[in-house]
């Protein structure tokens, strides 16, 4: 008997290969999902959003269940980080902010945990040091079903479950990424950077402007 029967997760979906596969693996294990997409316009275009919605629709069809979809305007948060915070820490500040907003949605929607497509050391922001410091932004559990997969395994799985052809569609990837993101982040420095902006207000504004589908 599966022990995940009554579990509900909040999936952070980005439109790339990883997060839809992570969502698929959770759904396959009888976990109910709600999805949240962080819209990085104007540092991208509308394609990541439309792709994310298509990916969620595909998962809905596959598992014959409705997945509520939250759209968060994250571009305005990125602008505040750029104006006020240390450039190299921007990816991590962004990730921690996404987790903090997602945590509030999870509480509202009675989700037991967050689900991400994060993958150990796949990109500079996903080192063990950065993932650890990202986790410390929230109290809710973060599940990463793809943590130790390699990229080829993820892409092959995406092909098997038909998310690949949507994920590969043309888009503009997030241009808010710094040229040299920090890989060995220090928590005290992160907190110092976060103290330069009004995090609580940013979270509330993001939630107030959220669109739900």
């Amino acid at each position: 008997m599966k022990s995940t029967k009554m579990a509900k997760g909040l999936l952070l979906i980005s439109s790339g290969f990883d997060s839809p596969v992570a969502g698929y693996l959770m759904l396959k294990n009888d976990v109910d999902l709600i999805a949240v997409h962080f819209d990085n316009r104007p540092f991208t275009n509308d394609k990541p959003l439309t792709k994310s919605r298509k990916l969620i629709e595909l998962l809905e069809q596959k598992f014959d269940k409705k997945i509520k979809f939250y759209q968060i305007d994250h571009g305005q948060n990125q602008i505040k980080f750029m104006k006020n915070c240390e450039n190299r820490y921007r990816c991590l500040l962004c990730r921690r902010m996404m987790f903090k907003i997602a945590e509030q949605i999870a509480i509202k929607e009675k989700c037991n945990f967050l689900v991400t497509g994060e993958n150990l050391a796949q990109v500079a922001s996903q080192t063990i040091f950065n993932l650890t410091n990202a986790d410390k932004a929230v109290n809710i559990k973060i599940l990463r079903p793809l943590l130790c997969y390699d990229k080829l395994e993820i892409i092959n799985l995406a092909k098997d479950i038909s998310t690949h052809d949507i994920s590969i569609e043309a888009a503009i990837c997030c241009n808010a990424v710094p040229r040299n993101p920090v890989t060995r982040s220090k928590l005290h420095f992160i907190k110092k950077e976060e103290s330069k902006i009004n995090i609580k207000e940013m979270i509330q504004e993001s939630l107030d402007k959220a669109k739900v589908f």
């Binding site: 990837c173 808010a176 040229r179």
Partner: protein, 81 residues
């Protein structure tokens, strides 16, 4: 100045990368172009569609696809910044 023009990583925009080290002067660019987003690191301007300008010189044309027009605008940005 020499630069390369190519499709961006995820293929939906056109990326321009200078072949030499560049540090753009945003103050000058702001006087020349219509600015949509103004930060110390990234400027977004409107010139035949949105263009994301990084202070280290990389440009991303979000809508414009015509490479001849892109070359002219990129030249104008580098000349004035």
């Amino acid at each position: 100045m020499k630069f390369k023009i190519e499709k961006c990583k995820n293929k939906d925009g056109i990326s321009v990368k200078p072949l030499t080290k560049v540090n753009l002067n945003f103050k000058k660019l702001k006087q020349r172009f219509e600015v949509k987003v103004d930060t110390p690191i990234i400027l977004i301007i409107n010139k035949e569609g949105e263009i994301i300008i990084h202070n280290y010189g990389d440009l991303l044309f979000k809508e414009l696809k015509n490479k001849d027009k892109i070359k002219v605008i990129a030249d104008e940005i580098y000349k004035n910044g």
